[in-house]
């Protein structure tokens, strides 16, 4: 069989990225939008680690650890905002969170 190269990992990462983008752009449920953002960040991590393996140094892996930390912080804050908003307006659909519109 074809040996597995960096290219294969990049294709998988691109697929996960596009799936995450579709989730962000099309879903109504805010929690699922946030989960799609996590998918995007995971795809980026996979890309970084694959390139780190290709070049043979560890910069990609260290950077992916930072991306993971960032994702954790952003998930926490995003979910906090969601809960605070849910208290005011009893909805979790992005279509209905449009208080700035008249």
């Amino acid at each position: 069989m074809i040996p597995i190269t960096t290219f294969h990992y990049l294709v998988v990462a691109a697929a996960l990225f596009v799936l995450g983008v579709i989730g962000v752009l099309t879903r109504r449920n805010v929690v699922i939008v946030l989960m799609s953002i996590e998918l995007i960040l995971n795809a980026v991590n996979l890309n970084l680690v694959a390139f780190s393996r290709m070049w043979g140094n560890l910069h990609g892996q260290v950077f992916s650890i930072f991306v993971t930390v960032d994702a954790a912080a952003e998930a926490a804050v995003g979910l906090g905002i969601l809960i605070a908003f849910f208290r005011n307006k009893e909805t979790i659909n992005v279509d209905e969170i449009d208080l700035l519109k008249w």
Binding site: T6, R27, N29, N93
Partner: protein, 191 residues
């Protein structure tokens, strides 16, 4: 080590373990990741999406292990699957109202979104096909046994000097502190 049990890789890899059935594992894990990703964005029930995302994260962990990145894999399990997904499940339980499961799933702009994502995919494929020469087929095998020590060296510094990412590490811890404070303050009932 018994030489009869080694496969034909360079000696740096043999400090750890010899890989076995790599294509099977790769296609299996990659397929699992993509299928679970598809399930994440298409389920009506948010808990099902969260469970599918956990499966995706575990599949990506397997891919990290195949890329000789055991520490990143462990961080992924710890932080992502064990921490962030728990947070998501808690919030889903708190805000999941009966009405939401009978609503429309996709918003009104979904064709536009899908078209944009397909354009993005086409862009990626063009970049991959045109720039295939930039991704050399060689993959350097990295010694697995000292992975954690080397990452620690880059993060904390070694032999008396500061590591390359020490400053960024400290800023990341500040970021986490700010995130904790923000999450706590935003969810308080009376500020």
């Amino acid at each position: 080590m018994n030489p009869a049990l080694n496969s034909g890789l360079n000696s740096a890899v043999n400090a750890g373990m010899a890989p076995v059935a790599t294509p099977w594992f790769f296609y299996g894990l990659a397929g699992l990741a993509v299928v679970s990703g598809l399930l994440v964005i298409t389920r009506r029930n948010a808990v099902h999406s969260a469970l599918a995302l956990i499966v995706t994260l575990l599949a990506v962990t397997g891919l990290y292990l195949m890329l000789y990145a055991p520490f990143v894999a462990a961080v992924q399990i710890f932080v992502y699957a064990g921490g962030i997904m728990l947070l998501f499940l808690f919030v889903i339980m708190l805000v999941n109202i009966e009405r939401s499961s009978k609503d429309r799933q996709f918003n009104r702009m979904w064709p536009v979104g899908l078209a944009a994502a397909c354009a993005l995919l086409a862009l990626f494929m063009t970049a991959f096909v045109k720039g295939k020469a930039l991704f050399p087929d060689r993959m350097m095998a990295m010694p697995e046994s000292s992975n954690t020590q080397q990452i620690a060296g880059m993060l904390y510094g070694e032999a008396g000097r500061m590591g390359e990412y020490t400053f960024a590490f400290e800023i990341a811890s500040l970021l986490l502190l700010v995130a904790i404070l923000g999450a706590v303050i935003m969810t308080k009932k009376k500020v």
